[in-house]
Symmetry: C2
Subunit: 201 residues, 2 copies
């Protein structure tokens, strides 16, 4: 859209929206129009929520989670099992595990995975602090909840090596058929793993 059509304020809004994940230039224009149409119910409140988030959100210096308190709500939660640390790649994985309610422990966000292609080396990840936290005598088990990708598994091996001297139990998530998953959409590796780890019915 040429600047002359709708003024620099709308143009700037569209340009910034286009940089949001999941929105391209075309959907950014559509989103801008929808926001303008819902000026009082959505555009205004969203602007305010973003301002507050930008001002108050901090990265937890202990686990790498994002929150408005430091240390984060999870790190301060005394009711969680202190004998386990769940290692994740990203805060989104932490949120996914919390939603599942599968575990009530503390987390450690690496902030990525090792990747030769993307030039991500160990010093770019939050590994040093993990070794520090894992050295706490209360910690007995490290659960590696990393993605089942090549880079995720490379990272799992690296982290395991870095923690080996502590003599902890190190576990990883089970492979298998996703709940509700259809077999003929799954790759051979998953199917083989699901067969190997089969259980009594």
């Amino acid at each position: 859209m040429p600047q002359s059509v709708a003024g620099p304020e709308i143009e700037r809004l569209i340009q910034l929206l286009a940089r949001m994940p999941g929105l391209g230039p075309r959907s950014a224009r559509r989103a801008a129009l929808q926001l303008i149409k819902k000026r009082d119910t959505l555009l205004g409140p969203l602007a305010e929520a973003m301002r507050i988030a930008a001002e108050r959100i901090v990265v937890c210096s202990s686990c790498g989670n994002v929150d408005t308190s430091e240390p984060c709500t999870i790190c301060r939660d005394g009711s969680r099992d202190a004998s386990m640390l769940v290692v994740v790649e990203d805060v989104s994985d932490l949120w996914a595990l919390e939603r599942s309610g599968a575990v009530s422990a503390r987390y450690h966000v690496l902030g990525g995975v090792l990747s030769a292609l993307d030039g991500v080396r160990p010093e770019h990840l939050n590994i040093e602090r993990l070794v520090e936290r894992a050295s706490d005598p209360a910690v007995k088990e490290i659960i590696l909840a990393l993605n089942a990708t090549v880079d995720g598994q490379t990272t799992a091996h690296y982290v395991t090596d870095a923690l080996r001297h502590l003599g902890l139990t190190i576990t990883r998530l089970a492979h298998g058929v996703p709940v509700g998953g259809e077999l003929d959409y799954l790759d051979e590796g998953t199917l083989s793993a699901a067969i190997r780890s089969r259980s009594a019915f």
Copy 2:
């Protein structure tokens, strides 16, 4: 995500993001995290751009376009052909036509199309003001740039009837094969129209 995990500020941001077009609850969480990671380069500036847009944007009382000036930049542009009015359903269509550079005239945004299903009746659309503007002696042609849908065409007929007494030329966009379009993806109606309106090569 339970409120306890990341604080009410992040929860509220996610809830509002989920109401943006093109984002569901899942992608809203992902978007929130990306925004938080780019706090200074994206989240903060976007909050400010939205605040400014919410404060300054007005709907043009003449044509229905959105802009930060009233009447809008297009309506104030004296270099445009005043003999034509291009009738569109939505501001997004106006923007699309402006990007194409196909016409340099003024527009009239109806704000929707007639729809029995959605209960959209003539009085819900900006038709009265269109008749008023079309009565200007300078206007000679009305170009109906409405979507080639059933509702779009119903609306085109209604608008044509409403303007008939003014004795203006009323035209509509040509049907045909989109540039770069592949024939076997097109419906029969489009193909028939493209054959009927064929031109010398």
